[in-house]
Amino acid sequence: MKTISSVTLSRMSRGLGVLALVLAIGAPAGAAAPYYEGKTIEVIIPFPVAGGTDVWIRTIAPYLEKNIPGNPKFTFRNIGGGRGIPGMMEFALKAKADGYMAVVSSATNYFPVLLGDKAAKYDFRQWKPALVNPVGGVIYASPATGVKRVEDLAKAKNLIYGGISAIGLDMIPLISFELLELDAKGVLGFKGRGEARIAFERGETNIDYQTTPAYNATVVPLIKEGKAIPLMSFGQLDDNGNIVRDPAVPDLPTVPEVYEKLKGKKPSGRFWETYKVFMPSAFAVQKILWFKGGTPAEALRAFYEAADRLARDKEFQAKTEKVLGGYPLLRGDRLEKTIQQAFQIDPETQRFVRDWASKKYRVKFD
């Protein structure tokens, strides 16, 4: 993690310079007060109360209140349902570029955009990410498949994966299976990853994935009992946008590494292109707090610096470890390029994914 770097210092001094200029022009006295002094920030949560995204923002908000100059108060508004679209639309239509209204998003909000769903009429390219939190995913299998090590996957027959929907997060494991050319089929219709895991435990499915926090809490005990074999992680992104090993499970190879192991060459082709587009938005930048583009730099900077301070805050780390999944809370500006790249999907890949989902999993696109 970076300490207050020279960049920040120079920024701060520039900020001070601007401030001095403003004062000189004759701004009202007290303009030196922090941007968020006595203000309230309304956060729209496009999901129901107590879902993953809701808990995420509510957990970190008290720490943000402490670490943003002027100690603004956060209020929350849940607009659940409709695959998160109504909540996103509310922000798109109502928020001003003043830093007093934000929205939190999760992979559920990115997929409709990437898949070209007409109902998702919001455009991330016009927004600014203030905070980002990655999450990871781990694929594991049942010993009943005969898989003992990841190399055995190529020979494994009749792998059955339990998922929720082919155009949600489950797409990442399903695409991974396609990429690795496994004999795997998805059984879709479970209500959540937890239910799918129960199905794995009772032997109804034999290959599964869980996000890293859930994996640590619920799958690691199964591994100890010999009821599950850890195989691979989806990976994370480094600062240049390359897929690297997941720091939360550093011993496990990533999907592209497994491809090299099995095939002896670097991954390529349509499924690999798809993986590269969808994996980051599903995991590497899964939770984002957004403001409207054009929000004053001072407001955004308050958030970036709060993220830097929290990265060094031991109490925050300990208290939020489970919610953040063992990953740092990242500043939005460092990942902005990666995030915007993640939403650039070329039309061919989009068409390819839609075809794949409708042929293999009978998804009906409008």
């Binding site: 109360v49 107590a50 879902g51 993953g52 809701d54 808990v55 509510r58 957990t59 008290p62 929350f76 508004r77 849940n78 607009i79 659940g80 349902g81 409709g82 695959r83 679209i85 109504p86 109902a119 059955i160 339990g162 998922g163 929720i164 929907s165 082919a166 155009i167 949600g168 059984v187 879709l188 219709g189 479970f190 209500k191 959540g192 937890g194 239910e195 895991r197 129960i198 199905a199 435990e201 009772r202 109804e204 499915t205 926090p213 859930a214 640590n216 809490a217 619920t218 005990p221 199964l222 208290k319 939020t320 470890e321 489970k322 919610v323 999993y361 009978r362 998804v363 009906k364 409008d366």
Partner: protein
Amino acid sequence: MWEAALTALEKFSNPVHLGLLAAGVVSGTVIGILPGLGGIACVAILLPFIYTMDVHSAMVLLVGSLAVVHTSDTITSVLIGTPGSAAAAATVLDGHPLARQGEAARALSAAFLSSLIGGLIGAVFLTLSLPIARPLVLLFGSPELLMLCVLGLSFAGFLTGAEPLKGALAACLGLLLGSVGAAPAEAVYRYTFDQLYLMDGIPLVAVALGVFGVAEVIDLLTKGGQIAERIPLGRGWLQGARDVLEHWGIVVRGALIGVWAGILPGIGATAGSWMSYGHVVAMARDRERFGKGDIRGVIGPESANNSVEAGDFIPTLLFSVPGGAPAAIMLGALFFYGIQPGPRMVQEHLDLIFTIIWSFALANTMGAGLCLFLSPALARLTWIPFRRLAPAVVVTIFFGAFQSSEHFGDIFALLSLGFLGWLMKQLGWPRAPFLVGFVLTKPTEQYLWLSISRYDMDWLWRPGVIALGVLLLLSLAWIARSKGGGEASGEDSSEGVVVLGKVPSILFTSSVLLLFAAALYEARSFPDLGAIFPIAATAPAVLMAAAQLVLEFRATRPPAEPEIRRRTRLAVVYFATLLLFFGAIWLFGFGVATALFTFLFLRFAAGMQWTYGLLYTAAVVGVAELMTWLLNLYWPKGVLLGG
């Protein structure tokens, strides 16, 4: 294990702990009384407060409120036929007729006592099952879960009343309504007509409040006068307690059905209480009184709906899989404290598990006591001319429906289904199978889908499926052998009397036939798995509706009496009033519209003096605004008075 239990119990000697529990119980009780607000609203209101507490205190507060919602939601079900939460809809069937016969006290005390005992049985079962819960949950694969859902659906057959054909049609209507929205696995959106609102399906609260709430309110308004004759309340309380003791077998079975429904993912409190009601009717030797005020019809669902919450904790704590919506929120709260429930929960956080169990048991006791204490005052509400109660009830129903997804569609659904429910009531179509069908559609379809896509057709030969299949056939044979229910008759029946004449019956059945035919036609365009369910619901329904239509034409019904015709006209006027209220909300926003509606209704429909009217209006608006603030609800701004 027992040490941990005692350590957790000791915590309750701390006044702070007890105070939090009491606060939870009071808030849960109040929310349960308000129609349409259930466990989810409870937790949503309390959530902001728990973010500053330690995990044990937070759980005491949350569990304390969740445990009693299903105790107090009975009150409005019995008194005004409007379920206090969706899970209390089953209690309306027999509880409300009892209240009309002046036996509100008996129904309430029986309900509270069976809620209490059911809750305690649930807590005991939860404790005992901790060591064996995991294998128990893993015993059931998707095919077995599917068979359990179908078994639950078959209970609807016992609820069809005197005319089984109408009952079966009502159940199919419920199934059809339940399949609106995203199919499981999201492969296709059905019957959504490109409305974003319909994509998530119609919320249960709007359905339960519409079919049993709005319909009942209109009915009570048209009948005029008060709900029940003034009779001394004294005798009823003891009688209710005696009833529970006499039917202790129902209480135990109901509680176990509830725990079971809680453990199984996706079944929930509403389905659990209906299954329990169904089993009571199925096992009864004499069925004449069901739907007309049989106390067993109160004891059955009430003993089940509290224990469901206890059962919900099992998958929540041991698998990190929420058993129902309130449990999902609890799970979120636990994540907030950095606790991820799972297989290690019993080793690592046994003290917390026992805090939850004790909170549940103690809150159940407190809640039942509190409700008993409040009841005499509440039971007197049945003596007040209903027109004076109506505005407050209507506002609460609108409020409760709106909070389920904070969309005007909720209120639209509420009023449409209210109209449908009222029609069904007037034409002798039983509403119970309709709701059972609606509630069980989603889990049934989900498990059907999973079974087929996992096992193709081999799932039919699994031993568990065969055993449950035999049970299903036996229960169907049982239904066929014994007639569904007695001949319904009399004013007080909640189901099954045709009061409108022949022509309305024919018109209604024709509309239903057309609806099914259109839905069937539409279903052809769904991809294969997505079509199974709508076709299964509509194809037989088309034939049945045609048969029913033939019966309607043949039936010799006396034309409606002038009194009935007058009431029907009144009902239309009242529906128009509700629509106007809806329109006013849209134009002026919720606060102003509520004030206008309440005051004008009191002035013109109830003939109240304007001074009292103003006071009453101020109280209703004040409470509504307070709840809006507590629940953090956003009513859309009025079109005219926006800003």
